[in-house]
Symmetry: C2
Subunit: 120 residues, 2 copies
DNA sequence: CTCCTGTATCGATGAACATCAATGTCGCGT
DNA sequence: ACGCGACATTGATGTTCATCGATACAGGAG
């Protein structure tokens, strides 16, 4: 896994404004970013991501997450897998329990690309 | 259409960090943001959005956009409609031509919600 | 070793989606 | 008026996806 999920070039990261508004996205970059957005583009996954990212411990047990939604356990597990597969969540198993942690850097990367702050 | 697409509350907009990392997203907010992310979560639409947002004129004619992809005209029209329907694009017809303009504020809203800059 | 419990995987099903060809609609020129 | 060109809408098709029940795979307790 790369240090930065999106592997933005110096020009891109140092840019005054979000790459998306700076110059047309390349096909490759668009295809690399889209899966991250797609993973977030679902209400349940957005809330899962938020629940984990806003937790004081930084980590949240799946057992807690399962109880926070009126969805079956396999469904929650599926959504967590989607977020994990694109690199938005880290997974650590301790004993019988599994904990997920948010990769806030990845979130920041996505945000910086699509919007961020503009001006010089 | 609301002034701000996401209608973030003062607490949310003035927050030190992205709402998503600050406190668990409410069901309503998650369901309001997800469609915007879904609209962006497609390589072609991401590139369309970028092409329009990065254009010097601020506006781009559909005739230009159609030529920039190896896709049928209806398909491009469909993608533009998706972006327009969620409020990411503005549409203006002049003569026979149709021009689309990026709602950068909407992009910034989404970015601020999911990532933005953290720290205190 | 054998249950019980937490989590992941599998298989199926119905809904949503990307794409295209065909058709419709609206302006402009002739 | 007529026809052409730009764009949108419709209908159809194959694919992707969210969800669930059933099942598999751990690891701890007894």
């Amino acid at each position: 896994m790369p240090k930065s999920l999106l592997e933005l070039t110096p020009v891109q990261t140092a840019a005054c404004c979000p790459p998306l508004q700076r110059e047309p996205l390349t096909v490759e970059l668009a295809e690399r970013v889209a899966p991250l957005l797609k993973a977030l583009a679902e209400p349940v996954r957005l809330r899962l991501m938020s629940l984990i990212a806003s937790s004081t411990d930084g980590e949240v047990c799946v057992c807690v997450l399962s109880g926070a939604f009126q969805l079956s356990q396999p469904t929650i597990s599926h959504h967590l897998k989607v977020l994990h597969d694109v690199g938005l969540l880290e997974r650590s198993k301790r004993g019988v329990w599994v904990y997920y942690k948010a990769r806030t850097a990845a979130l920041a990367d996505v945000a910086a690309l699509i919007g961020g702050t503009k001006d010089a």
